[in-house]
Symmetry: C2
Subunit: 405 residues, 2 copies
C-alpha cells in the first residue's frame, strides 16, 4: 500500500476530451430551419454542432474518453483510487455510469475505487471535481489518483418528456442570476483570502459554462456590471454612469440596453480573458456538464503554456435547477503536454460535415429508438473516430453491449 | 465568517428518519397474492411494508425529513454549509433533489450550500456521507455543518420501463459477491490500522443494507464463511470443517447447504450484532439508499446509549450495479437524545394498516399517473403524519407544488 503523504497543489494534472465525429454547420442549419440568416451564428454565436447517432450513448462516450485518457497519459488503472462521474444523461434508471466504467478497470484487478455519479444538470462535473479534490485533501485519501468524468449527450427536443423540459428565456435569466450570486460569493472568498477590492481584474482568465457562446458574452458583460455596482464612480464607467447609476441586480435582468452597454464596455477584456476558452463551445455546441471543462481545454489549447504560468483561471459552472459556483486556481507547471495530447484544433477539423436533413434523420431515429429493448443500432461505425466505444446491441433486458472501433 | 478549526471526530451527530403512514401487512399480502403462507414473512423475513400514495414523491419526502430534522434538533438553516442527497428515485430528469430542498433554506438567506445529488442505486446515501465527511476533513470546509439526505421510494414493478428492471436471483448473488470484496477490503483497512487478525470479532455491531431481512441473515452467515476461509481450522468451525474445507468464494455462490450451515453457525452472533438493526427494515420494507441508515437508526433505538459507548459499528452499503463499501466508526458520546428524537417504535406503531387490495389500487394509481402533467393528486391528506410535505398539484410544465400538512 502506498503511504499517502499529504499532497501539495491538489488540482488538475491531465485532461482529455471527446466529441463525436459528425457535425452540422450552423449557417446551413439556419437555411434548413427557415430562420433568418445569422440567428444561430451571430444571435447565439454558434458555428458547428457535433452530435452522435444511435451508435453512441452516455456510457460509450464515457468509456471512450476514459480509455483514451488512460492510454494517452499512460496511467495504470491500478493508480486510480477515485472515479467520479458528473452527468445528467440517464440510461439506466439506477445503475451509475461509474459502474459501467468499472469494466475498464476489471483487467487490472482494481475493484476498489471510491466515488459514483453526481447529478445536477450541467453542474455535475464541477461537483465531481470538488468531491475528488476534497477526497484527496482528507484522511480518506489513500495516495492514489482521482479521475473525474464530465459527460453528456445534449439534446433539446420539444413535446417529448424524455428530454429535459426547457423554459428558454427563464433559464437564461436564471443563469445570469446564479452568476451574480456566485460572483458575489467568489469575491467574498477572495477578500477572505486577502485580496483587496477584488474584481474582474483579480482573475486572468474567466471560463464560463456555455449553452451557446452568445450567452457567455452576456455573462461577461454582467460580471462587469457587478463590478460597476461595487464601484460605480470608477473612471472606466464614466460614459455610462448616469444612464445606469440607479440600477440594481434585481431591476436589470430584463434590461436589454444595460446588457448591450456592458457587453460593449467589456469587449476588449472579454477578448483577453474569455474568448479563447470558447473554441470548443462554438464548434461543438452545448455539452452540459462537460461545457466548462471544454472551456478550460480550449484555453489551454489556445494560450501558450509559458503565458499561463502563475495565472489565475476562474471557472463559472452552472446547472439549471439551479446550482452554480465560481472557483479559481492558478496554473503551476507546464501544461504544453496537455495541449499537445488534447490536439483540439486538429481534432475539430477532422470531423465529418453532415447536411441538416441527414442530421434531422439521425435525431429522429435516436428519438424514436431511445428507450428500445432488443435493438441493434444502425449508425455507420466508419463515421466514428478511431478508438471510439460504440453500442452493438441492446437485449430484451435493456442490457447494452459495446465494442471499440 | 466562522473560523474553521479542524474538527475532531468527524461523524454523525444527529439522525432523523421518515416513512409513510400507510402500511400493508405481509401475511395478509401472502393470502391476497396467493403465495404460500410464510413466503414473505419467513422466506423474505418481512412483517409490514410502508408505502405512499400519489400525495408523496421523492421531493416531498426529502422536504419532510429535512424540515423535521432541522426542527427537532433546533438547527438553523444558516448553520448548514453542505447538503448532499443520495437517491435513485428520479422525478426531474435534470434538476437535483438538492435544488428542491434549497427552498427550505430560502427564508434564512443561506443560498451558499455545497453539494448536490449522488446516485448509484442504494449506494447513493453512503457516497453522500463520505463526500460530506471528506468535505469537513478538507481545506474546503468553512466551519459549517453538513446534512446528508438518503431518500427513495422503492417500487418493484414488472413490464414497466419506468421502474428499475430487476433480475432478482442475479441481484442477490451480486449483493453477496460485493459483500465478499467489501469485507476483504475492510479487513485490509483494519489491518493497516493496526488491528491484528481482523475478523467478525473486531466489530461490535454490523449493519447491512437490507432489501429484505432474510438477505441480511444470509449476508451475516457469509461474513462468517469469509472468516472461515481465512482461518478454517479454528475450533468454532470444527463441526463443518470437513464438509466445506474445499470451498472458495467463487465456488460457493449457489451452494445452499453452505449458506444454511453458516446461517446456523452464526445465529447467536447475528442476534447480538445485527438483529436489532433490522427493526425498521422488517417493518417498513426496502428503502434503497435509506436502508442502511434506517439500520443504524434501529440499532440506536434498540440498544441503550450506555451500552453503545466506545463500540465499533460497521455498515455494509450496497447498490446494484454495483457499488459497495464496508466502513466502521466508534460511538463517541451520548446517543440517547437521538434515540428519543427518532422515537422509532412509537412511530412505527402509529401507522395505518391498509388492506392488500387498497394497497394494490394505490399502486396502480401511482403507476398510471407517474409521469402526468396537469395532475391533482387524490390521496387523503388525513392519512399522512402531521408535518408531512405533500403534493398539491402538477402543472402543464411538470412543475410540482407542495404543502405542509
Ligand atoms: C436561448 C433561447 C431562449 C433563444 O430564444 P429564441 O426565441 O430561439 O431566439 P431569439 O429570437 O431570442 O434570438 C436569440 C438572439 O439572436 C438574435 N438574433 C435573431 N436572429 C438574428 C439574426 N438573423 N442575426 C443576428 N442575430 C439574430 C436575437 O436578437 C437574440 O439576441 P439577444 O439574445 O441579444 O436578444 C433559445 O435558444 C433556448 O431556449 N435555448 C435553450 C435554453 C438554454 O440554453 N438555456 C441556458 C441554460 S444554461
Ligand atoms: C428475492 C427474490 C429473488 C425471491 O425470489 P422468489 O422467486 O420470489 O422467491 P423464492 O421462491 O426464491 O423464495 C424466497 C425464499 O423464501 C422461501 N420461502 C418460499 N415460500 C416459503 C414459505 N411458505 N415459508 C417459508 N419460506 C418460504 C424460499 O425457500 C426462499 O428461501 P431461500 O432464499 O432461502 O432460498 C425476489 O423477491 C426478488 O427478485 N426480489 C427483488 C430483488 C432484490 O431485492 N434484490 C436485492 C437487491 S439489493
Amino acid at each position: 500500500m502506498t503511504v499517502a503523504t499529504h499532497p501539495q497543489n491538489i488540482g488538475i494534472q491531465a485532461i482529455e476530451v471527446y466529441f463525436p465525429k459528425k457535425f452540422v454547420d450552423q449557417s446551413e442549419l439556419e437555411k434548413h430551419d427557415g430562420v433568418s440568416s445569422g440567428k444561430y451564428t451571430i444571435g447565439l454565436g454558434q458555428e458547428k454542432m457535433s452530435f452522435c447517432d444511435d451508435r453512441e450513448d452516455i456510457v460509450s462516450i464515457c468509456l471512450t474518453v476514459v480509455q483514451q485518457f488512460m492510454q494517452k497519459y499512460n496511467v495504470d488503472y491500478k493508480q486510480i483510487g477515485r472515479l467520479e462521474v458528473g452527468t445528467e444523461t440517464i440510461i439506466d434508471k439506477s445503475k451509475s455510469t461509474k459502474s459501467f466504467l468499472m469494466s475498464l478497470f476489471a483487467e487490472s484487478g482494481n475493484h476498489s475505487v471510491e466515488g459514483i455519479d453526481t447529478t445536477n444538470a450541467c453542474y455535475g462535473g464541477t461537483s465531481a471535481l470538488f468531491n475528488a479534490c476534497q477526497w484527496m485533501d482528507s484522511k480518506a485519501w489513500d495516495g492514489r489518483l482521482a479521475l473525474v468524468v464530465a459527460g453528456d449527450i445534449a439534446v433539446y427536443a420539444s413535446g417529448n418528456a424524455q428530454f429535459p423540459t426547457v423554459d428558454g428565456p427563464l433559464s437564461v435569466i436564471s443563469y445570469i442570476r446564479a452568476l451574480d450570486y456566485a460572483y458575489l460569493d467568489y469575491l467574498k472568498k477572495l477578500e477572505n483570502a486577502g485580496v483587496e477590492s477584488p474584481s474582474l481584474d483579480s482573475v486572468d482568465y474567466l471560463v464560463f459554462h456555455s449553452p451557446y457562446t452568445k450567452q457567455v458574452v452576456k455573462a461577461f458583460g454582467r460580471i462587469l456590471f457587478n463590478d460597476f455596482l461595487r464601484n460605480p464612480t470608477a473612471p472606466q464607467y464614466a460614459e455610462i454612469y448616469t444612464q445606469f447609476s440607479e440600477e440594481t441586480l434585481e431591476s436589470s435582468y430584463n434590461n436589454k440596453l444595460l446588457e448591450k452597454a456592458f457587453i460593449n464596455l467589456s469587449k476588449s477584456v472579454f477578448t483577453a480573458k474569455t474568448n479563447t476558452s470558447l473554441l470548443a463551445a462554438r464548434n461543438i455546441g452545448n455539452m452540459y456538464t462537460g461545457s466548462v471543462f471544454f472551456g478550460l481545454a480550449s484555453l489551454i489549447s489556445s494560450v501558450p503554456s509559458s503565458e499561463l504560468q502563475g495565472k489565475r483561471i476562474a471557472l463559472f459552472s452552472y446547472g439549471s435547477g439551479c446550482a452554480a459556483s465560481i472557483y479559481s486556481f492558478k496554473v503551476v507547471g507546464d501544461v504544453s503536454d496537455i495541449a499537445s495530447k488534447l490536439d483540439l484544433v486538429a481534432r475539430l477539423n477532422d470531423r465529418i460535415c453532415v447536411t441538416p436533413s441527414q442530421f434531422e434523420n439521425i435525431m429522429s431515429l435516436r428519438e424514436s429508438t431511445h428507450n428500445n429493448a432488443e435493438y441493434s443500432p444502425t449508425g455507420s461505425v466508419d463515421e466514428l473516430f478511431p478508438g471510439t466505444y460504440h453500442l452493438t446491441s441492446i437485449d430484451s433486458m435493456y442490457r447494452r453491449k459495446y465494442e471499440l472501433s
